[in-house]
């Protein structure tokens, strides 16, 4: 049994489990599923700086911080107790492309060849980690939600703005992955 759990889980197992988070949150506390707001609550609690957008009672949303801390703990559990002993299997076409940028280590979920502490101070590393992270934080809040809030919760509730947001996520992602990222990775 444990052997099966340690294998990578197929989409038809993982997807429905992620989808069940929607009713789980509604039923255990009347909460709508969303993750990126946690970043805002961290801003509001640590450095509101008198900005109106951060002047609210963040303690009312502390459930969201418990949730993301749980995700962090879940990462620890999955990695230490349920880890897949084999490297991540990827499409051979992608493997060939990535090898040309020097990415050959598939033992971790993040590409250790380019995302590590040493490379942080190179231009490529800075763009991948610092600039990329900034876009994620800025963009999700500007859009009013991320993949969980808009794509999963919003679409589940048939919200047109969420469909527009989700399409925008995909457009941005396709442009970056196919047109811009190859340039960054070649740096």
């Amino acid at each position: 049994m444990l052997e099966i759990i340690k294998e990578p889980w197929p989409w038809y197992v993982a997807g429905p489990l992620i989808g069940l988070t929607v009713p789980a949150f509604l039923i255990i506390g009347n909460k709508s599923f969303g993750i990126s707001s946690s970043l805002r609550h961290i801003c509001a609690s640590c450095m509101p700086a008198n900005i109106p957008f951060f002047k609210y009672d963040w303690k009312k949303e502390v459930w969201n911080l418990f949730f993301v801390f749980g995700i962090f703990l879940g990462g620890i559990v999955a990695f230490n107790l349920l880890a897949n002993p084999n490297p991540v299997e990827i499409n051979p076409q992608l493997a060939t492309e990535l090898a040309s940028y020097g990415i050959t280590d598939y033992n971790h979920l993040v590409p250790q060849d380019i995302m590590n502490w040493e490379s942080l101070f190179t231009l490529r590393g800075f763009l991948m980690m610092v600039f990329g992270g900034f876009l994620v934080g800025f963009g999700t809040r500007y859009a009013g939600g991320c993949t969980s809030g808009h794509a999963i919760m919003g679409l589940s509730n048939l919200q047109l703005p969420s469909l527009i947001a989700t399409i925008s996520f995909m457009v941005g992602g396709f442009i970056m992955a196919n047109l811009i990222l190859p340039i960054i990775l070649s740096l």
Partner: protein
């Protein structure tokens, strides 16, 4: 009366650019929040085991080289949709007996501008906000930098919010 105005104002601010604000009318002790932590742990395990938090899977998705991520998002939405339909149809209550409320979203241009900006970042980092937390849990300590940067991005958005087109 004045108390109510303060509370309404607070909710109004929290509702700005947020999907997951939902005002429960009940007050609970702080330790009730542990139930969200438990959901988070399970969720984090699913994230890692399905490799949703893998940079490589995100690259495959945006190059249309694998069905995996589309299958996950698609089936998650389907399950979520059926669940919400059932909750509304049978007027399911919360475990505290409260009526379930879900706010509708209004369209603003931020969903296009911000959404595209997030998409650009998603394809670089290979992670949306949730996976960042899980990746750090798997021992990729460098992702702490990405997370701090995402927090900084959120802060800068809050700082510039009035000047940005919505």
């Amino acid at each position: 009366m004045e108390q109510n105005t303060v509370i309404d104002k607070d909710l109004e601010i929290r509702l700005q650019d947020a999907m997951c604000v939902n005002e429960s009318h009940l007050e609970h002790k702080w330790y009730h929040n542990f139930k969200y932590l438990v959901v988070g742990v399970l969720f984090g395990i699913v994230f890692v085991k399905s490799e949703v938090v893998s940079w490589f899977r995100i690259q495959e998705m945006f190059r249309l080289q694998s069905f995996h991520m589309f299958g996950i998002i698609g089936s998650a939405v389907l399950v979520g949709m059926v669940s919400i339909w059932l909750i509304k149809k049978f007027e399911v209550k919360t475990i505290y007996g409260e009526t379930i409320e879900i706010h509708d979203k209004k369209f603003n241009k931020g969903q296009i501008y911000g959404g595209s900006i997030f998409g650009l970042g998603w394809a670089i980092t290979g992670a949306c906000p949730g996976p960042l937390f899980a990746q750090i849990g798997t021992g990729a300590t460098i992702i702490i930098v990405t997370l701090l940067s995402a927090i900084a991005g959120t802060w800068v958005y809050g700082y510039l919010r009035e000047k940005l087109p919505h």
